[in-house]
Symmetry: C2
Subunit: 277 residues, 2 copies
């Protein structure tokens, strides 16, 4: 696969790059951000996946999450994929929460989404392979996190493929999408009206049915403006009913913004580093 | 009130004492442990209440929780009350989980328990007053924690009297006693068959109805042999549904013993210290 460098900037002794490539999974060009720490000049380093939320591109967390210094100090890479396919021939919707910027980390089975909206396959299979082939990252030491829709993606992907992801955390995840307007609409559009197909993409359902073999860290702001859509209480109940190792933290006064994400990014980078190094 | 010193031992520069006094609340002699840090020679210090679990006396946590060094370093006192009235004229039951060693931190309204089992009043009102009159503790800076039945006591007392307790945490609390065999039996015995009277002594109910104005820390071991009786999932759901500030941690592999309590005592002492100093 060919890889085009759109930009590379020195950052905390390492390199913050933005790259574009043709994706077989989505049938489009895809752009991602990747921070490589200085340590990667000498050895393959663990890599943390950061999945962004609704309306985001590869750029939001890369510029606003303040993760680079933390990852530089820890000696791990962090990758910021896009949240959907892009391009004029890619289906879209007028709503901000369906179509472009809203891939929901699933493989669409329904038209008009099916041709390009294959974000699960892109994130889980294609992009890791590309990273391993082109950068000094160690695919045997991968962790995954994300925010909102990306927290949903991180949790569902990690619980489905624990052998690939040695650590997992989430910021304000969409925790029970099969029971939320952030979920029912999108899962219905992408996966069809048979709700049994949705269950593989609901963290609360997956937690109840299988959980995760390691520990899980979840942070949620108590002043998040989307709490009724995120449904943290459903996932917290499922975690504790399963006796899932980990912690669910309700952080007082924080909202859904990147100021919240940035505040707790250090805890999450440390969480993953302890499990990947 | 007269206070009899049963023992005093130098400990981490401070003093671990055991004291006995006549209690008006219980109508019996009551014994408690109190660790005073060296700092208390110069100023009144904050005080952390540690409520023990079923079968315990004042002695269990005092000898097995390893809290003294942490409290000495933090400059706070820690008090270890008994878990029930004692004495030949005090009602008891053959079961380990009713009667002596099982006061459940309520004021009994039913015979034969009513004359002496007034542990709520003893813990919330009488013993704080006695401590303030006899030791250099600052009653305006009190925190409360506890283990199992004591975690239940700490949470219910703090949510009922947040003006008295500036911080609260719990180790493996009995979290939903109105729905558990650790609760229904005792609340029925002490408070009678009208279950509406039980609700004031159920952390999940109190969390749903009022919560706590500060942050709450709860640790629970995932290998706790009593998980089905403790019901952490009920309280976790109530916390997150209320958006209660705090964190619920499921600690992998820990059981219900004092090895679990001791492991996380540092986190809890730090938690309280940050909110009391």
């Amino acid at each position: 696969m060919s890889l085009e460098t759109l930009s590379e900037n020195r950052s905390f002794g390492g390199t913050q790059g933005v790259y574009r490539h043709k994706s077989q999974a989505t049938g489009t060009d895809m752009t991602f951000g990747l921070f490589m720490p200085e340590l990667a000049e000498h050895a393959r380093v663990p890599v943390l996946w950061y999945l962004s939320g609704l309306t985001c591109t590869h750029e939001n967390a890369m510029t606003k999450a303040a993760a680079q210094q933390l990852c530089a100090d820890a000696g791990i890479a962090i990758v910021f994929p896009d949240t959907s396919p892009r391009g004029d021939d890619v289906a879209d919707d007028e709503a901000y929460d369906l179509g472009k910027g809203a891939g929901f980390y699933v493989n669409a089975t329904q038209d008009p989404w099916k041709p390009h909206f294959q974000m699960w396959h892109y994130i889980v299979h294609e992009l890791p392979e590309l990273l391993g082939d082109n950068f000094a990252v160690d695919r045997d030491r991968m962790g995954i996190t994300g925010h909102s829709m990306g927290g949903h993606g991180a949790l569902t992907i990690a619980m489905t493929h624990p052998e690939r992801y040695k650590s997992v955390s989430a910021f304000a995840p969409i925790a029970n999408p099969t029971e939320s307007d952030w979920g029912r609409k999108q899962l219905g559009a992408y996966l069809g009206s048979d709700e049994s197909a949705w269950r593989a993409h609901d963290s609360t359902v997956l937690m109840t049915e299988k959980g995760y073999p390691g520990e899980i860290l979840i942070d949620q702001g108590s002043s998040d403006q989307f709490l009724d859509l995120l449904k943290p209480e459903s996932l917290a109940h499922a975690m504790m009913a399963r006796r899932q190792s980990g912690q669910f933290r309700m952080q007082p006064g924080y909202d859904h913004s990147y100021f919240f994400v940035q505040t707790f990014m250090n805890d999450h980078v440390m969480w993953h580093t302890e499990r990947l190094i």
